[in-house]
Symmetry: D2
Subunit: 358 residues, 4 copies
């Protein structure tokens, strides 16, 4: 079970407002099981990563993102608590992780980066072990050699880089003020999914798990555009959950309680998350299964991914059983669901303490 | 929220049978939230420690315990998974921990050791910060200087050592074949609790948290006798849960499923645990609140701690609200409570994988 | 053996220019033994910390420093390599450490912080174990309780805070644009040294190590002024080495090679370091033993500490044997001393690689 | 720069006698630079691993080795210090590592294991990045998928497993009391080297580093026989150093000082090491470059590897420049070379302290 979070803002935000202060941040989602809906799954205690871009205005800082990751639980990482209080960025990726494939190690931590690009994954490539050779033999040497760890996610990113390359974009070259462009990134992302689907179908038929679908919620950015998928290789199951929220400001109206302020129609702040970050139902829009979300110039676009797993008829329901069994379902919830939770001071103090130490 | 586990056997047991293989081991209690009863609390993802004694028969191994501890979550620690499959002992302490006081660091990991002695704590000394100077000034230099970290638990152990010393036993001296003797250890333990109680009462009256009770489930051993308390400084609240089980063998009747075998009245195997390790109700006896358990020569003794917090009338119920708010209540449960839990293969594989790697 | 480094600039500097890029940075001093002068000592592989202040101009970032520390060797820390390439500050403390007292743990990492203040130590308080109670009983509760770890250095910082408090300054209060003022900080620092000296003299006479001097190179800042001591409790031995350099710019004239540029008399850049950061002899001035250095408004002041360990006659030489035996002597060296060092590409690549990954 | 050590004894030895107590153990080689001959190289501060077999007599312990590894420096690892004092084995592999290829992570720690087999490497496969695809495409799926990390060494082990498999031995099957047999293991090892040589020759000619030789000191065991190579793909350069010592007992004649006792001709104790573990010249025999050492039934056999890099004429000297540039040369040294080293008490205490804590 993983969770990810994306922030894209007109203005930089203090990372603490995304990561450590909100009662329902992805860090606290992993920390505080009282706030969890799905309690049948292990928590994301296995590691985390946060990547952010520094302002364009200072060329000395370079154009790639800065990534901080750790294999210790996010909720207890003093360095994260301190950095989050002292760092601002207008483009942030964050990921918490329970290792299901790949040994726990810093090389397996999301987000992965390659020059200006940053990538993360929520879900899993089904039967990855049987497809690993196809990944390896398909891609160019530079991306084959890029892979350092053992996860399906890192290989998926290498494949994405290879797809981008084969579309005529050298992913190692510096980006200009517009980045690589959202169309080409989206195209490479769709091609990545296409190839994984094809290879899955070429797996030996007698394989017992062959029917298990792949959960492919991917996110990628070049520091300018952001492309996120909510995707599953199934016509009947839901993908891992994905929501977004837009507004003029993301504000803390009381300690630990955040909401999206919408003064006008402007989308100065865009959040995309596996799990809603606030308890305001109206703050969040659910991304439909098997679609691709684009953030370009502070605007959100949604496109369906119309392939063999697409359901044209919206009245045909998908089951959330499979994604739920992976701990990947996080619906938007009403605040009242939490009304009766009597919060003892223990973890609150624990969290406070971390912040204070910072 | 912490959990601890004690094994005392006539024969050595493979640590894996206690730590990694049982579906409801303390490691898996922390790993697999589907098996958790109290889901409102963070999991024990903050660190763990295991201490065990090597056989008396090899003098080169010395008489103190060996301790292995880590600040990464127990469920993902390869070294632990490997060592557990390759190490046997007839006296084992194990502890998983969510840090509520003291920064996460190896110096704060239980069990703590001092020459032949090993100690762990489940609970917390209320208002410890205000009592810390009393701890420091009361004890002899060697125990004051022994403290390396910042936890109430380590200070409580140092206090225990000082109490033992003042009762005429030098805790740094090698033990003979009978150890220090269970009477003197029990006496030192009761004195430790007595002092903490007294100091708590001397805390400034105007302190708002002053009414909060201390949860003092302590366990100590010299490698021969074991003394464990289940104690709370309250007449109306339950202490953190504590159970024990005795039998002729602790057996795995199917993969991951364990039970206590009782062929005759022999107590070849004694387990003491915060949370039952098997799903057989009849395997476990609950230690009453405010009593002290002794293991001597494979026999379990129970004594009440008859002080101002003792309830003579057993019909007067205690509330478990406070201990529950700390995540420290783990009742004995019926196996059928788990019947409907449909286990998806994910973590099972994860766990298997760790074991296989070993 | 430890090393520390201080940067105070009119403009912010990229941390990489101090920490990871210079061939003779404190990170590379610890990494590359070919550049070491004293090869008889273990390297600083035990941990490191870097603390920096964010710009005053953004009140949301608060006035305290941000600290990043780790217990793994600095030369192999990917997070450090990445953060150093993406972070700028005009006030930086950095410390690498070989643990000689206190178990290796993040709580024992320098620099230590308290609200706006940041502190580090290069050296050791002799016979600290015997003085620990004096530290504990002398200081106010808030500083006694501040100590989390087991090092003489953290206790020395707590004592400094207590001294500042007793001089009428509350170290927990926010600082204004001028900070607490360099006079009062210097006074508190001198008082700290005074107390340690006094307590050392009260140690039992029969103590065999009693004659061993304390090495007290301390550095403290409130984000505005910086106070650094080079001090030893001896009339005949040198203190741990300390040097400073001032100029208009700290520039990389070829990859990995830095020097201090001095266009005019301005001191836009001030560096203070245990070990020279460049190979230009003329870049560095050695701070005399038993003196105190002040940085105030980009100006360096030097004052002697005139007590019983002061040598009025500058012609009386001190021996560097003791400090050298602790690995704490790093003279200013001529570039030609390195001419014959034939650098094989191995570590260079290693270092490059880390930088590239960033 | 890495170091490895092998112990094969008729009787089990306390790991501390190999790892932590000898003044010149591989741990202390990495810790104490005063004892280093080559001071131009970084120390082995990047991680370590130790693997050992448990006695055959207890089937519950299985037949594979137990491995403990860490990415923190060996000299500061409390768990290692404690385990070494409490664990005995008659077959031990130990490895300290400076990461030159592959990010520092536990998945990159030697020794690597596969069921009953254990493997480690001292040196590096030259131009490995360019040969990685050949490794991947040559081997069977189970060994391709076995690789978790990013090192040439782990790939070399996977290749060895594939060679063993193609020689008709399934490396995943349990071994009987004689293991797989030393002939077949030696054959697989020679085949591994053969393939690496061939692939190196197929690298593109225009490659600037193509002339750099591979340093292939490999060690492998099935818990019964041990095969170790000292090999370089060059006719003119020395391989990384390798020595062995045999005797009736490995004894500590004064604290920290060890020697090999030779009462009769029996080889009850066999040590193989990159760097001599004692200061007695007569204790050690240097393995000639490009030969393969076999331990079978407490007997050491040496065979030359007679291929294109073999020098028939022993009077033709090899240069040790290349291996030295990698920090891989450790000659046998006379004890008097250390006579003048005036050991200050600092690290000695540090080391003692670790031991005491255990």
């Amino acid at each position: 079970m993983c969770r990810f979070l994306i922030y894209k803002g007109r203005d930089p935000i203090l990372l603490a407002h995304l990561l450590t202060r909100p009662e329902h941040s992805i860090i606290n989602q992993s920390y505080d099981s009282r706030l969890r809906i799905d309690t049948r799954r292990p928590m994301n205690g296995d590691g985390f990563g946060v990547g952010y871009y520094t302002p364009d205005t200072d060329p000395e800082l370079g154009d790639g993102p800065c990534v901080f990751c750790a294999t210790t639980p996010a909720w207890n990482n003093l360095n994260l608590a301190r950095l989050a209080e002292k760092t601002k960025s207008s483009m942030v990726f964050a990921h918490v992780r329970a290792s299901t494939a790949g040994v726990l190690s810093e090389t397996n931590c999301h987000p992965f980066t390659f020059h200006s690009l940053m990538f993360m994954h929520n879900g899993q490539v089904a039967n990855f072990q049987r497809m690993k050779r196809k990944f390896a033999s398909h891609m160019k040497d530079e991306y084959f050699l890029y892979v350092q760890g053992g996860t399906d996610s890192e290989w998926a990113f290498a494949l994405f880089l290879d797809c981008l390359d084969k579309l005529g974009v050298d992913p190692s070259k510096p980006v200009d003020v517009n980045g690589f462009g959202h169309e080409i990134i989206r195209k490479a992302m769709l091609r990545t999914i296409q190839l994984i689907k094809e290879w899955a179908k070429q797996c030996p038929e007698d394989d017992i798990d062959n029917e298990e679908p792949s959960l492919l919620n991917f996110a990628v950015t070049d520091g300018h555009s952001v492309i996120v998928t909510r995707y599953i290789t199934s016509r009947t199951e839901e993908a891992a959950s994905l929501h977004f929220s837009t507004g003029s400001k993301f504000i803390e109206y009381e300690p630990g309680q955040y909401k999206m302020e919408r003064r006008d129609r402007r989308q100065d702040v865009i959040l995309v998350a596996s799990e809603p970050l606030t308890f305001e139902r109206s703050d969040w829009v659910t991304v439909p299964t098997n679609s691709i979300l684009t953030i370009n110039n502070q605007t959100v676009l949604l496109h369906p991914i119309m392939d063999e797993y697409y359901q044209i008829d919206p009245s045909v329901p998908r089951s959330s059983n499979f994604a739920a069994s992976r701990g990947l379902v996080s619906p938007i919830v009403e605040p009242q669901a939490y009304t009766n939770v009597n919060l003892p001071p223990l973890e609150r103090e624990g969290r406070r303490r971390l912040s204070m130490t910072a």
